[in-house]
């Protein structure tokens, strides 16, 4: 897949960090504003897809295949499972909100709602890595590559 013209490359270089930042904001403020882990994760994946579409798959092939994108997906799911398991370690039932029981925090602030922002972060990483892996498989992979 070849890249696009110079104007598209410049504009996408300027826009992709803003989209990434918007995705991170939507993930971290998931307990205060609409959004959450799923919406933010898909936005983060969208910013990377924009860069690949603008520059063409031939140029970015060598760099992206070194990223090991599927490992991030496994890490995200494992962190989410560990946060659920933490309740069993503490002695109560599975999936307890262990932080709220100890230290509630002020409502409507960023550091409140216990385990919920951490769960959002783990899900955001997992969804972003998953959708990015799908796009790499469809657009970049050739014979003999390892992802």
């Amino acid at each position: 897949m070849k890249g696009m013209t110079l104007i598209v490359k410049c504009i996408s270089q300027l826009m992709a960090p803003s989209i990434f930042l918007l995705g991170v904001y939507v993930v971290l403020h998931g307990h205060l504003t609409p959004g959450g882990g799923f919406a933010g994760g898909v936005l983060i994946a969208g910013s990377f897809v924009l860069l690949i579409l603008a520059f063409g798959s031939d140029e970015v092939r060598s760099q992206i295949l070194n990223w090991n994108a599927t490992a991030f997906e496994s890490v995200g799911l494992f962190v989410f499972w560990f946060l659920a398991f933490w309740g069993l370690i503490r002695g109560t039932y599975y999936f307890t909100n262990v932080i709220t029981k100890v230290n509630p925090g002020l409502p409507y602030h960023l550091f409140s709602a216990g385990i919920i922002p951490l769960c959002n972060l783990a899900i955001g990483i997992e969804v972003a890595a998953a959708l990015f892996s799908i796009f790499i498989c469809l657009a970049i992979l050739k014979v003999g590559d390892r992802i």
């Binding site: 609409p34 799923f38 898909v42 409507y108």
Partner: protein, 113 residues
């Protein structure tokens, strides 16, 4: 009730596509339409007349009229799962085309290799 029936009509259009069409890609598009219709039906069931968004801010008074939040929670994950299954089916369709050089389901009959 007419909005519910229209959501069911959208579901039936997708069902017609899965049953009648012979192109694998058209079957994939029809499955995606079925997915949209089911999410639409869930979101419409949860609507309350005169209700607002179920997000509390500093200024909300007690006893505000909210919309039902449970169908929204169910649909939120369903949308992302829909993307996952559509991508998986597109991958299988690409593989089928590379092997048999056609999208017609009546020609893709023998299971080789």
């Amino acid at each position: 009730m007419i909005v519910f029936v229209m959501a069911i009509v959208l579901f039936l259009i997708g069902l017609y596509g899965v049953l009648v069409k012979r192109n694998v890609f058209k079957i994939l598009i029809a499955l995606s339409i079925i997915e949209y219709s089911v999410n639409l039906l869930f979101a419409l069931i949860g609507y309350r007349r005169g209700g607002t968004v179920p997000i509390l801010t500093e200024g909300t008074k007690a006893g505000t009229f909210f919309v039902d939040p449970i169908p929204q929670a169910l649909v939120l994950t369903a949308i992302v799962i829909g993307l996952g299954t559509t991508a998986l089916l597109a991958a299988v369709a690409v593989r089928l085309y590379e092997k048999y050089d056609t999208y017609d389901v009546r020609k893709i009959r023998k299971l080789r290799g």
